[in-house]
Every structure is written in C-alpha cells, then in structure tokens.
C-alpha cells in the first residue's frame, strides 16, 4: 500500500441521469488525516459525489483511486470493505433494530462468519459476539449514548438518530469517513456536540473525514480544506480562508446569472 499519496483521488468524474449531468468532470483529492468540507448550493451534486465514492452510483467517465489503487467500479459492499464508511443526508438507520444492534451491524465486516456456529451460539461465534460488543460499548461511551442502547432506533429524536448513525459508521473503524450533512436540523447545542465528536474522531482516531455541510460557520471552523461544487462542477478548492474570498464562490452563493 502506498502510504505517501492522498487517501482518495477523484479524477475527472462525470455522472449523468438521462440528460441531466449531475457531476461534470470533477477532480479532487482527499489527503490522509484531513477534514475536507464539500459545500455548494442545493442541487450542486454534493450527495451524488458521495454516492459515487461509496460505489452506489458508478461514474459515466473518470476514475476513483483509493490509497493509490483504482476502484472506480466497485460495488458498495466492496467499497465498505476497503475502509470507507458514511452517514446519510436523510438518516438511514435500521428503524426496527435497537441502537446497540444498529452499531453492531456497523461492525459486520469485522466479523467472521460460520452459520452453523452462529446457530449454536457456541465457541468462536459467542466469543466474537462478545468481543465486538465490547468494541461497540467503547463507541457508545465515546459518543455519550449509553442511555439509549436498547431503544429502537426509529423512536429516537432526530438529533440522536444522527449521532447513532455516526456511531454505526465509526463501528466499522473506517480509514475514510463520509458525512452527509451531519448537522442538518440540529440546534446550536447539538451542533456543538457533533463538531466536538468530529474533531475528536479526526484527532484521536486519525480518521480522514469528508463532510457535506451547509452551516458556513461550522465549515470554516472545523475543516482543513474546502471544495466548492456548483451545477455539478468544481469551482473552488482551498483552505477556508482562500475559499471565503473566492469570487466564483461568492457568485455561486449570491446567485450571479450563468452565461
């Protein structure tokens, strides 16, 4: 594995739905250990970009490399196996399962399977289950959700659901964590908590993070680098300060007519 280069490289990726070009020749790099923010007006193609990275859509043209290796056409489970985890814009928890089971599901790829031993709940199967429970409990402590362990995920308030979703993604111990609007619909206090968690994950676990966010204050505070998308194209890429002063970005947000 090539440890020196960027963790993820997106090269000239285009995605189209029929006549609609959702992404147009977008290129970007995610460096190891950084927090990258992806911003842009509604419909700019931010979520589509995450979907391409996690293998849910496949690009019409262009390439995606993870840790130096080409992986443009992998399926979602294979992408997960590489060490990429994500959360979703409209929370996608398993509503009928408890919080604990949701987070345990995040560790699925770390578990070895043998249906017969599972059926008997015996030997390695039981030991494995307990070891992973211990790991999940550490994440539960870290995100301070001990009290809702056994609650069905569908019954939680929105802010907590977002937190559980982060826990589920963290349970996979990913190298790259993709967060799709992790703070949408949260109040100030919840946002502060979430910022702290994101910074802690990045600082303590060394996880690389790419996040989509609309709250500019948050973006400027926590990200190392910012990429701006508009109408499926990348229009800026730089530190928060550079992006803030970029004329193209100002135009996109203030609505200058496209010619």
């Amino acid at each position: 594995m090539n440890d020196a280069g960027p963790l993820l490289e997106v090269e000239g990726v285009s995605v189209r739905f029929g006549a609609l070009m959702a992404l147009h020749q977008v290129s970007l790099r995610i460096e190891r250990g950084e927090i990258l923010a992806i911003i842009g007006p509604n419909g700019a193609g931010k979520t589509t970009l995450l979907n391409v990275i996690s293998g849910f859509y496949h690009p019409w043209e262009g390439r995606i490399r993870f840790a130096g290796r080409d992986r443009t056409r992998l399926k979602p489970p294979d992408v997960a196996e590489l060490g990429i985890a994500r959360t979703f814009q409209n929370v996608a928890l398993f509503k009928g399962m408890s919080v604990l089971d949701n987070i345990m599901t995040g560790r699925l790829l770390k578990m070895r399977g043998n249906v017969v031993l599972d059926a008997l709940w015996w030997g390695p199967a039981q030991r494995q289950e307990l070891a992973h429970r211990a790991a999940v409990e550490r994440i539960i402590d870290f995100l301070e959700i001990q009290a809702i362990r056994k609650t069905p995920a569908g019954k939680l308030p929105y802010g907590l659901q977002k937190r559980v979703e982060l826990a589920r993604a963290l349970a996979a111990e990913p190298q790259l964590l993709l967060l799709d609007e992790p703070m949408a619909g949260m109040n100030v206090e919840e946002k502060e908590d979430m910022c702290r968690f994101i910074l802690d994950v990045n600082g303590e676990l060394g996880t690389t993070i790419a996040l989509i966010e609309h709250d500019m204050g948050v973006v400027m505070d926590i990200s190392d680098r910012v990429v701006v998308l508009d109408y499926g194209r990348k229009i800026a890429d730089g530190t928060p300060d550079q992006v803030r002063k970029d004329q193209a970005v100002l135009d996109a947000y203030l609505g200058v007519a496209h010619d």
Binding site: F17, T47, N51, F56, F88, Q89, N90, A92
Partner: protein, 311 residues
C-alpha cells in the same frame, strides 16, 4: 436432445399450419385476459388512490356476483337486481372506508394490505351466509354460443365481455382525466398529505374509489359468472391479477388492460401448444413464471418509469 429440441420447435410448425385454429386460441386468450384485466383494474384503482393493495378484490368480484344472482333468484327483474347490486357495492365501499380504512389511516402499506386480507375472509363468509355457497349459474341473456367470422369461431359471450371491458376502460380514462374528482384522485395518489393540505377530502375520495372498484367487480363478476358459474374459485382470480399487475405496473390503467391481455394470450398459447409436452395444466403456473422472467429484465413493469434509487 434432438427430441427435446423438436418438442420445443414443433408447436411453431403447428401454429403455422393451422392459422384459423391459432386465431381461435388467440381469441380465447384475449377473452380470459380481459377478465384478468377487469380484476386487475379494480386493484389499480384502489392502489392508485389509497396505496392499498386490495387483496379482497377477488372476493369483491365474488360478492358482487353472488348478490346479483341471489337477487335474481329471489325473483327480482335483472335491471332492478343490477341496480340493487350497485347500491350494495356502494354501501360496502362506505362501510369499508368507515370501519377499516379510517382507523388505519397513515399506517404502513403492509398493514393496510393485511387488513384487506381480513376483509377478504369477512366478505367471503358474509356473502355465502347471505346467498348460500352453491355454484350458481348466472344468466345475463347473452347465449354462450359461437358464430363464424371467416374461418374463425367467435363466442358471443366473450365478444360481449370484450366490448364491455373496452367501454369501461374508456369511461374510466375520461373520468380520471377530465372530471375534477378524477384529478383529485390522481393528486391523492401522488401524495396523501399534500392532497389533504389542499383541501381534498380524503374520505370522499376513498369512498368513491372503492365504489368504482366495486362497480368494476360487478362487471367482472357478471362476465366470469356467466362463463363458468358463480363459485368460490372466483375469489382466486385475485391471485392471477398479480402477474398482470407486475406486467402492467401497479398504477397504470392501460397497463392493467395490456398486462391482462398479454397474460391471457400467452397462457392460452403455452397451454394449448406446449402444455401437452409436459403433461398439461401448466396454466396454473405459467403466468407467474412469465411475470417472473419479465421482472428480471424490466423490474418497473411495462408502463412504469425507470426507478432511480436515491439515498
């Protein structure tokens, strides 16, 4: 191996060698297909307007036919009996809306589906209690005889059924496109809450839709009952409507018609020409296998939009 190949290919030669027989098989298939279409139409109407997959549609057909026959047997003139049956079906729609749908509003689709299973049992028991469980002959005054067009035998009853179905579909299409209640219906189908917020009365809409589905059931019941007698097996056509819906899509009125015809025709042709090779009676499962094969290539149905999944 060559024998198997021969067995698969030979029926094509049969078809080519006797085109007028083939035409008769085709017409038989279309006639059966129209019945499927009518039942499927009831499904589609209700599914479109309330998102309910009405398992009881088949029993509604049976119930309508039983009521009609029962009234005629008790000496009511055909026209009066028909009118009364229409009244009964509308009344039934009111009752279903009040007792079943209203308490379950905003529940998941699967739960409403289960409720219609309950309805299925109730109506079956109720219908038989009122009118008895014996097989009954339904005589609507159209002889079940055939006449010749060129070399092809055509059954009068089947022809009438075909024409009736065509009329119903046209009326329904106009109803949906041109009347205000039809427009409201389509709005409800797209989004319950949005429709409610626009002041569209959901309860009225549902009652209307279930009434219309009841009327379609009467027609299907008359046609089917005249052909093979009014009996319990009528309610099992509901299952045959499933592959029809798969082909046509759950929300498309023309789809239900086309799907029914395709299933009816393919089933008949397969049974007549290929059935004997494997011992016959393949009509029982052929429709499902056909729908299954179709699904693997076009999961959205004939008239459905391509589904783009989002997260």
């Amino acid at each position: 191996m060559t024998e198997i190949l021969h067995g698969l290919v030979a029926p094509f030669a049969d078809i080519a060698s006797n085109p007028s027989f083939f035409a008769e098989v085709l017409i038989g298939g279309i006639a059966a297909g129209l019945m499927y279409s009518l039942v499927a139409l009831g499904f589609v109407l209700i599914f479109k307007a309330s998102g309910v997959f009405n398992f009881a549609q088949g029993v509604m057909v049976l119930f309508a036919a039983l009521t009609l026959v029962g009234l005629i047997e008790r000496g009511a003139p055909v026209a009066l009996a028909l009118l009364l049956t229409v009244g009964v079906m509308v009344l039934l729609a009111f009752a279903i809306e009040r007792v079943v749908l209203r308490p379950l509003v905003n529940q998941e689709h699967i739960i409403l589906f289960m409720a219609t299973i309950g309805l299925n049992f109730f109506l079956e028991g109720f219908g038989e209690m009122l009118w008895g469980a014996n097989v009954k002959r339904l005589d609507v005054g159209i002889p079940d005889t055939s006449f010749k067009i060129g070399n092809v035998l055509v059954n009068r009853l089947e022809l009438t059924a075909a024409l009736t179905a065509a009329v119903i579909v046209t009326v329904l299409a106009v109803f949906f496109q041109k009347t205000s209640i039809g427009r409201a219906l389509r709005a409800v189908a797209d989004d319950h809450e949005a429709a409610l917020s626009l002041g569209i009365p959901l309860k009225t809409i549902w009652t209307v839709v279930w009434s219309v589905a009841g009327l379609v059931a009467i027609v299907a019941g008359i046609m089917w009952g005249a052909k093979s007698g009014v009996q319990f097996s009528l309610s099992l056509i509901a299952l045959k409507a499933l592959p029809v819906l798969i082909l046509g899509g759950f929300t498309s009125v023309p789809g239900a018609i086309a799907g029914g015809l395709i299933i009816g025709v393919c089933e008949k042709i397969a049974e007549v020409y290929w059935g004997p090779l494997v011992g016959g009676a393949i009509e029982n499962w052929f429709a499902y296998v056909l729908a299954l094969a179709f699904l693997l290539f076009r999961p959205q149905g004939l008239f459905g939009e391509r589904i783009i999944e989002r997260v």
